[in-house]
C-alpha cells in the first residue's frame, strides 16, 4: 500500500514548491488526499446530526425557533432538561427500559448458552434440524409475530405487561446468540472437556465450571449488541403496551410531541439526549467488544 503512493507527485497549482522531505512526511498523493477528505466528510455526515441534537438540547427556545441551525447556541441553558423531566414520565420510562433490557438479556444469554452447549458441546442426532430452526428466526421478519402474539397475549392476560415485550425481543434475538456462543464454544479445546470428564465431571458440572466461566467475553458481546436493539425497540412496545406506566423510552419520547404539531422541540431533544447517553457511554467504552461481535456475527450468518 505505502509503496505506490509517491509514484505520482502532486501537481499543485499555487501551493508551496514541492520539496522532498523525510520519506515518512511526504505529502499524500491526490488520490490519497481525496480519500481522506471523503472519509472526513462522511464522518461529518454521520456525526453532525448527533452533535446538532446535543447542541439543540442546550439552546433556549427563542434561539431554536429563530436561529440558524448551523450556528452555535447564543446562550446555554439546562431548562430544557428540567422541562424534559417535568413534562413526561421520563424516569419511569428509563426504569421500564432497564427492566425490559435486563430481562430480555438474561433470557438471551442463558438460553443462548444452553442451546449452544447442547448443539456444540453435547451434540445429538437432530442437531442440524435444530440449527435450521434457529436460522428461520434470523431470516423471518418480526412483523409476522405481531398479530398472533397480540391475540395470544389477550387470551392469557399477558397484554400490557413486561413479559409481553421481553418474550418476543428475546425470542427473535436468540438465534444470533446461539450462533455466537456455538462459534465460541468451537474454540474450547476438546482436551479440556475430556480431562474434566476423566475427573468425573458430568455435563452439568462441566457447563457450570468450565463453559460458563470461559464465556465471559462472548457474554459481554452478546449483551452489548442486543441491548442496543432492545433499548431502542419500538415495534413490540408500541404494539403490546397500552398503559402509561409500562411505556419504555421510545414510547415515552412520543409523548413530547404535543397536540396539533405544537411541540416543545428543545425539551424533546433534551429527553432524547438523556435517553441516548447511557447507551452511548457504554458503547464508547465497550465498542471494541461490540465491533468484534458484529464482525463475528456477520461472518457466521
Amino acid at each position: 500500500m505505502t509503496t505506490y503512493a509517491p509514484a505520482k507527485a502532486p501537481a499543485r497549482a499555487g501551493g508551496r514548491p514541492h520539496k522532498p522531505r523525510r520519506p515518512s512526511r511526504r505529502p499524500p498523493s491526490p488520490a490519497r488526499l481525496a480519500s481522506r477528505v471523503l472519509v472526513g466528510a462522511l464522518v461529518v455526515v454521520q456525526v453532525y446530526p448527533l452533535v446538532w441534537l446535543f447542541l439543540t438540547s442546550l439552546r433556549t427556545e427563542r434561539d431554536f425557533a429563530g436561529g440558524n441551525p448551523f450556528a452555535l447556541p447564543t446562550s446555554l441553558t439546562f431548562d430544557n432538561y428540567a422541562r424534559a423531566f417535568g413534562h413526561g414520565h421520563l424516569g419511569r420510562n428509563i426504569l421500564n427500559s432497564l427492566i425490559v433490557t435486563m430481562g430480555a438479556n438474561v433470557l438471551i444469554v442463558l438460553c443462548g448458552m444452553m442451546g449452544a452447549y447442547a448443539l456444540q458441546v453435547l451434540g445429538f442426532r437432530f442437531s442440524r434440524v435444530v440449527r435450521a430452526l434457529f436460522l428461520v428466526g434470523i431470516v423471518v421478519p418480526v412483523q409476522i409475530a405481531l398479530v398472533p402474539l397480540f391475540v395470544d397475549y389477550t387470551r392469557v392476560g399477558l397484554l400490557d405487561t413486561y413479559p409481553s415485550m421481553i418474550l418476543p425481543l428475546a425470542g427473535f434475538a436468540l438465534p444470533m446468540s446461539v450462533y455466537l456462543f456455538s462459534s465460541f464454544f468451537e474454540y474450547i479445546p476438546r482436551e479440556v472437556y475430556e480431562a474434566a470428564s476423566l475427573d468425573g465431571a458430568g455435563p452439568y458440572r462441566i457447563f457450570a465450571r468450565i463453559t460458563l466461566p470461559m464465556s465471559v467475553n462472548t457474554v459481554v458481546t452478546v449483551v452489548m449488541v442486543n441491548s442496543i436493539f432492545i433499548w431502542n425497540d419500538f415495534i413490540f412496545a408500541n404494539t403490546f403496551v397500552l398503559s402509561e406506566d409500562l411505556k419504555t423510552i421510545p414510547l415515552g419520547l412520543q409523548n413530547y410531541i404535543g397536540a396539533m404539531g405544537k411541540t416543545d422541540w428543545t425539551a424533546t431533544f433534551a429527553a432524547v439526549c438523556v435517553t441516548v447517553t447511557p447507551l452511548l457511554l457504554i458503547f464508547l467504552v465497550l465498542n471494541r467488544a461490540m465491533i468484534y461481535g458484529l464482525e463475528r456475527g456477520a461472518s457466521k450468518g
Partner: protein
C-alpha cells in the same frame, strides 16, 4: 463432543431455549399462516375463507401494490446507501494509515440511537418552516431552488423516509466489510500492483472476489432489514401523504391494529416473509453465479 453425554442432559439444556423460541417465534409464525386463511376482526367468530385473502391481496388491492412498489424503492435506496456506501467507505478506510478505530466508532454512532429519536431528528432536518438543516444547507450552497418540504412532497417523501434508515446502518456494514477487506492477503495485492494493475483493477479482480462471501452476507442482511423496515417511515409520515410512503410493513400494521382485520393482516405478513426469502434466494443466486463464472 463430551464422552459421557446423556439424552437427559441434551433435553435439559435444549428445553429452555426451544421453549422460549417456540412460544415467541415459531408458534406465532404458524398461527400467522393459519390466520391468513381466515377472516377475523378479533371479536366475532373466525371465518374460514380459503384463499380469498390472497386473491384480494394479489388482484384486488391497489394500496397493497402501491406499498409493494414503495417497499422496492425503499429497498433500493437502503441497499445503495448501506452496501454500496459501506463498500466505498471500507475501501477508503483500508487505505488510511491512522485513526481507523476512531472513525469506525464514529460511523457506528447513529446505530446506537433509537428510531424514535432518529425520526425526531429527521423531522427537523427536513422541515421547511422553520428551515431545517437540509433546506438551509441547500440555500447555503446556492441551491435554494431545491428547497421543499421533503416529507410532504409526494415526489421526495419516499427517498426522505428511506435515507435515515440507510444513514443509520452504513457504519455497521462498513465495519463488517472492512473486517473482510483486512483479511485479503497483502501479497496478492502487492504482486498485482507490481504487474501494473490500477487501483480499480486490484479492487475488481482481487479484493472484491476475495470478500464476495462476506459481501453476500452483508447484502442479505441489509436487504432483509430493509424489507422489514418499519419504524422510521411509520413515525415520520405514517405512510403519507396519501400512500406515497406506505410500505408493506406499515400497511400491514395499519390493517392489523387500525382496521383490526387480523386475517388479512396475517396474509400480508406472510407475504413479507415470502418477500424476504425470495430476496435472500435471489441475492445468493446472483452472487454465487458470478463466483462460478
Amino acid at each position: 463432543m463430551l464422552p459421557h453425554r446423556s439424552r437427559l442432559a441434551v433435553l435439559v439444556f435444549l428445553t429452555p431455549p426451544l421453549l422460549l423460541y417456540g412460544v415467541a417465534v415459531l408458534l406465532p409464525i404458524v398461527q400467522s399462516l393459519v390466520l391468513s386463511f381466515f377472516s377475523w376482526d378479533g371479536l366475532s367468530d373466525m371465518e374460514f375463507v380459503g384463499l380469498a385473502n390472497y386473491t384480494r391481496m394479489l388482484t384486488g388491492d391497489a394500496v397493497f401494490w402501491r406499498a409493494f412498489g414503495n417497499a422496492l424503492g425503499y429497498l433500493a435506496i437502503c441497499l445503495v446507501l448501506q452496501v454500496g456506501g459501506a463498500l466505498v467507505v471500507a475501501s477508503l478506510l483500508a487505505s488510511l494509515r491512522r485513526g481507523r478505530e476512531v472513525i469506525k466508532t464514529l460511523y457506528l454512532l447513529p446505530a446506537v440511537i433509537s428510531t424514535v429519536a432518529i425520526a425526531f431528528l429527521f423531522q427537523r432536518i427536513y422541515s421547511i418552516d422553520p428551515a431545517g438543516l437540509l433546506n438551509q444547507a441547500l440555500a447555503a450552497v446556492g441551491l435554494g431552488g431545491w428547497q421543499r418540504p421533503w416529507l410532504s412532497d409526494v415526489h421526495t417523501v419516499l427517498a426522505a423516509v428511506s435515507a435515515p434508515e440507510g444513514w443509520r446502518f452504513v457504519g455497521l456494514y462498513t465495519i463488517i466489510i472492512y473486517a473482510a477487506l483486512l483479511a485479503v492477503p497483502r501479497e496478492l495485492e502487492e504482486a498485482a500492483r507490481l504487474d501494473g494493475a490500477s487501483s480499480w483493477q486490484v479492487f475488481a479482480h482481487i479484493r472484491f472476489p476475495y470478500i464476495r462471501p462476506v459481501f453476500a452476507t452483508t447484502t442479505i442482511m441489509a436487504a432483509t432489514y430493509a424489507l422489514r423496515g418499519f419504524d422510521i417511515p411509520y413515525l415520520l409520515t405514517n405512510g403519507g401523504p396519501g400512500q406515497s410512503s406506505e410500505l408493506i410493513t406499515t400497511y400491514m400494521y395499519k390493517t392489523a391494529f387500525t382496521s383490526t382485520d387480523y386475517g388479512y393482516a396475517s396474509t400480508i405478513s406472510v407475504f413479507i416473509v415470502v418477500e424476504c426469502l425470495v430476496a435472500v434466494g435471489l441475492i445468493l443466486l446472483v452472487l454465487r453465479r458470478k463466483a462460478h463464472r
